[in-house]
Amino acid sequence: MTTPVPLELTANGAPHTLAVDPRRSLADVLRRDLRLTGTTVGCETGACGSCTVLVDGEAVRSCLMLAVQADGTAVETVESLAEGAGPDAELSSLQRSFKEHFALQCGFCTPGFLMLTTALLRKEPDADRARITECAAANLCRCTGYEPIVDAVEAVARGAIALEDA
């Protein structure tokens, strides 16, 4: 173990001041220190994308980013997507669309896909199916076969499900 390094960031809008071992991943600090366990770690090597979070709006694999590299940034995780706090907060349009299109089964990869495609829709709200497929190809899902995930995102992009907060 080495000397802890100071780290300041916001996670889903809440400011945090921490001291972390410099070798620890952002995913690990989110999960263990901040108890944001919605971000799941599948492969720890950057292959699967289940740990995707947004750092200053950019989708990143939080298993590959050192926590100290996130110093001074705003981090968003799956826990931020629903409108309001607590288990009764209203699901975002993208979350609702995933549910309606059966775009999840075991749910392990789902937070990663939600954050990945949230970033896409913010930048390209009318992304077409080819673009959504290209983007979704960054992450792995072993349950759905991907088509329902693309369907869910495309429904939001087409406006079939209102995009009030994605």
Binding site: M1, D21, R23, R24, R31, L36, T37, G38, T39, T40, V41, T77, V78, E79, L81, A82, P87, A89, L91, Q95, F98, K99, F102, L104, C106, G107, F108, T110, P111, L114
Partner: protein
């Protein structure tokens, strides 16, 4: 109620979509330890020695296990045994015993109070391996009788399985 053909809403989606699912890594119990497996870096070798002293002395380490600690434990069975075929020479022990037989073969297990310390300690396990020839093609390995299979051959057994009249089926399909 008949759900066949109907689109049935899933009860579990809501919590999974919110990141409130509970997977194995979310479970941390008081006194829980973390395990790191030390694996073979080579495909086939005789194990001359495993030095676990440095790993055992590392902070956080509770135990470093090797095959010697598992004496008397049965090997891992095959999932679907076939009548008349003796798989005994091929079975794998939970930790490699005497030989490693593929890259990634588990050789030692480090139990630690912390996952990062477990990784550190695992890197300190020193393997003394004497490499043996490898076979990369099942079709040309029939004559092999490696010592790591206790002298058994690469043809484990032959299973004949068929039913119906194949020739007649093809003829009728033409």
């Amino acid at each position: 109620m008949n759900a066949i053909g109907a689109s049935v809403p899933r009860l579990e989606d809501d919590r999974l979509l919110r990141g409130l699912g509970r997977f194995h890594d979310e479970i941390v119990r008081p006194g829980q330890l973390w395990l790191r497996v030390v694996r073979s870096p080579v495909a086939h070798a005789r194990i001359r020695g495993i030095d676990t002293a440095a790993a055992a002395a590392h902070p956080g380490t509770v135990a470093v296990l090797t095959a010697a600690d598992l004496a008397g434990m049965p090997p891992v069975p095959v999932r679907q045994p076939a009548p008349g075929i003796d798989f005994t020479p091929y079975l794998q022990s939970a930790l490699a015993d005497g030989h490693v037989r593929y890259v990634g073969d588990p050789v030692a297990a480090v139990l630690s109070e912390d996952p990062y310390l477990a990784e550190d300690a695992a890197e300190l396990v020193a393997l003394d391996l004497e490499e043996l020839p490898v076979s990369l093609d099942a079709r040309t390995g029939a004559d092999l009788h490696p010592e790591s299979w206790r002298g058994a051959g690469a043809t484990v057994g032959t299973v004949d399985f068929a039913y119906g009249d194949v020739d007649a089926a093809f003829a009728a399909a033409a």
